[in-house]
Symmetry: C2
Subunit: 473 residues, 2 copies
């Protein structure tokens, strides 16, 4: 265990009631802006009270506080955090908030903050740091750490390497439990989240794992060789991080060894890192679905936020504009029968709703690896069946409503037929768009919806107004 980890473990007392300290801090900050003018503000006293609160907090709770506060108050809290904890807090805060904190730090302060971190943790921060600061950090490490840090920096995001840590407890295969225990006592403390020791041969190749659970309940004179589990999920740093995440979820793992191509133990992945990875990925997808390119600081400036959100609106503006031109083609028909304008958004809208249901299910099945060549055709037929059924039912309902409203049988018929056809289009689009996005290496969970809506809108207008032009005007 590194001194950094030891220090952290001491402070890792979770807060009994998260949220309470936030209210406490906000009351303190309220005193910075007193209602009565000319009141004396004792900034130093407030700062020291803030310090007393944050000193008691777990780094994850400090991160939460920083994310929940506007910039001014955030920097006041940040200033009260000792240099030995800054690194850990930087790891915990969101990317957007981290930027605001780093912008407030001197270069030497940043380098100092990383001294308390492990190589893999520094690598997590590196993308947010200027290149020359990273270089300085690398140079400030001793030889072993520097080699590890350089390795950690070399793994691209989304690989197992980027989730890997180097601290790992292993034992040789040819000892007994007593010797294994002796061996372990050389550590001050085992690395966090160690649920098993990795059993290695003389060349440091992974042979299996010995759960601490088993070690603890076994008599000391039993040989490790007869005790360890030889079937272990191992990973190489180049693998896709999603692969690890799936294995952890499926097999309820706590830690798994990472080896080089020759099977030699070089590090491990732990469940807390995986949980964080899964969360981050989901959050990015959720934000990505509404075109928020990155995590947005809750208190970012209006201008910055608009810049973050603008491109999505521009993209949607383009697709809406094209759909609008489709309507433009039929202005002559609309001028003759204005009811068409009132009814056309219904056809387009329900197509979008229905297509999104299909897309959501296909995206999920793709992510879970449940779609094969064999069953894809079957799924498509099923989706077409559902949309036909829905089209007949809801198209019928709407056709009757249109007829009742406008006393025009033909209009009701056109409405019903257009609904049916657009729902079939929606099923096709909802089915194929995620496949194509997946094929072209884009995340189907993120961009499918905008393409889908574009198609269901344009086609909905085209089908409805086209049929109306043929049969009604």
């Amino acid at each position: 265990m590194t001194p950094a980890q030891a220090a952290r473990a001491r402070e890792a007392a979770p807060s009994p009631a998260p949220g309470e300290y936030l209210a406490e801090l906000e009351m303190l900050f309220a005193r910075l802006h007193p209602e009565e003018e000319g009141a004396v503000i004792d900034t130093a006293a407030i700062a020291s009270q803030v310090k007393a609160i944050v000193d008691e907090l777990h780094p994850a709770d400090i991160a939460h506080v920083l994310e929940s506060l506007p910039l001014e108050a955030r920097l006041l809290v940040w200033a009260q955090i000792g240099p030995d904890r800054e690194g850990e807090v930087l790891l915990e805060v969101s990317d957007a908030v981290r930027e605001t904190l780093l912008a407030d730090m001197e270069r030497s302060e940043i380098v100092a903050a990383t001294h308390e971190l492990d190589a893999d943790e520094i690598a997590d921060l590196a993308p947010d740091l200027p290149d020359d600061v990273v270089k300085e950090i690398v140079e400030s490490q001793d030889v072993t750490d520097r080699a590890q840090l350089q390795a950690a920096l070399s793994y691209p995001e989304g690989t197992v390497g980027s989730l890997m840590e180097f601290e790992v407890a292993s034992i040789p295969e040819d000892v007994d439990c007593e010797a294994a225990l002796q061996y372990l006592r050389k550590y001050d403390e085992l690395p966090g989240q160690t649920d098993a020791l990795f059993v290695v041969d003389r060349d440091n190749r992974v042979k299996g794992r010995l759960p601490l659970n088993t070690l603890l309940v076994t008599n000391p004179d039993v040989a490790v060789s007869g005790l360890y589990e030889s079937e272990v999920a191992t990973f190489v740093p180049e693998s896709d991080a999603d692969e690890v995440a799936q294995a952890f979820e499926r097999y309820d793992l706590i830690s798994a060894p990472v080896t080089d191509a020759q099977g030699r133990l070089i590090g491990r992945v732990t469940v807390d890192t995986v949980l964080e990875y899964v969360r981050d990925r989901q959050e990015q997808q959720e934000l990505g679905k509404v075109g928020l390119r990155e995590d947005e600081d809750l208190f970012a400036s209006v201008f910055q936020s608009a810049k973050n959100r603008g491109p999505w609106l521009a993209l949607n503006l383009c697709t809406a504009f094209i759909a609008s031109r489709v309507v433009g083609l039929f202005e002559g028909s609309i001028a003759q029968l204005a009811a068409l304008a009132a009814l056309m958004p219904i056809v387009a809208g329900i197509g979008g709703n229905s297509g999104n249901q299909t897309t959501t299910l296909i995206v999920r099945a793709l992510a879970l690896g449940q779609v094969s060549m064999q069953n894809a055709r079957r799924l498509l037929l099923k989706e077409l069946g559902i949309s036909t059924l829905n089209g007949v039912v809801w198209g019928g309902v709407l056709g009757i409503a249109a007829w009742a409203l406008y006393r025009n049988v033909a209009l009701g018929g056109v409405m019903a037929l257009a609904m049916l056809l657009n729902l079939v289009v929606a099923a096709l689009a909802g089915f194929f768009i995620p496949f194509l996005m997946d094929r072209f290496g884009r995340d189907p969970a993120v961009g499918s919806s905008v393409f889908l809506t574009f198609i269901t809108d344009s086609m909905g207008f085209f089908i409805f107004l086209g049929l109306a032009t043929i049969f009604l005007v």
Copy 2:
């Protein structure tokens, strides 16, 4: 450790390449439907080959296979699974697929399958079983198990109790490490996911936790009382499950004790259960956003699927119909200037896109507990600022486009103004809808979007057509 858990642990060898076995199985099933007519199908041989494959698989992998296969093939695989593993597989499959499997089982088979499960696991299955089967299962248990099962059945979904398991390793506080180790060796194996022993006093009240890591590296003669961590996040069964999930994520926990109101240890929650809970909840939200009420079996019948998806389409039909009636109010204006019909969907659509961005950020901030009375006003002002800025920029762009297309300055002006106003409406709706839903105890992540779109559509049409009626016709 129960015999069931021991049996499972033996089989828990994760598959080296998930997906491969699925392809293998599908090739077998293809032989059930040979291309040439009259070919001899050796069903028994195929079944025994299927059995050979699934016998080697982890229950989670079997679940994955079952979920990826159409009903006929699924039941063929299911028939090859021994009664000692059926319970475990039932736990792993999705709700929708579980239903299809249970429908294929005799009552006595269901009761037998639960014999290999712990009380908390049976309680997880219970909601999908008929009441009289649950009663029979309860009666088939011995006295201790029956009491635990009844307790487990009594905790409502979404509480800590529903995530809790009863198997837990504890040690008295007044022993030394040697005695603790001796004590542990009485277990055949510790319960899975045990990262720490809970230290209890004579009344079984939780005093703290002793990480196995620490125990392993400490000399046997050290007293437990001086070694254990006394600050522990503990939970009661009645607490909200989300609270536990947040604590696990924030503090990187592996297991946490659950106590009764007097602080006596009654069970524990482990990280694998929490990870599953978090996943399930997110999945439900994702499906709920597009109105899929429940998990849908990939191979459900067209009719069943349509029933699952229908109510959402009906709801959207109603809102779209109301929005359509807003347009209906202005049919006179549209008949005079058909361009209005072409342009109005743009105003409504971009409002929806922009409002969804606001809603997504607010929902997230609410879920993370980052919104307080103090900063809510500030957030609202920020959102209004962004929408005004976007409204001026994109309203301007669209106004110019409308003017260029139709050579009508007034139309361009109306377009620009309507965009600006509808984006402001979208910001207000996007901000307040999640708050109100949260206030009324609904999950804002699920239903916000349909309300939002309703408002941005109706108001978008109303504002644009209303302004056009005043200034253009």
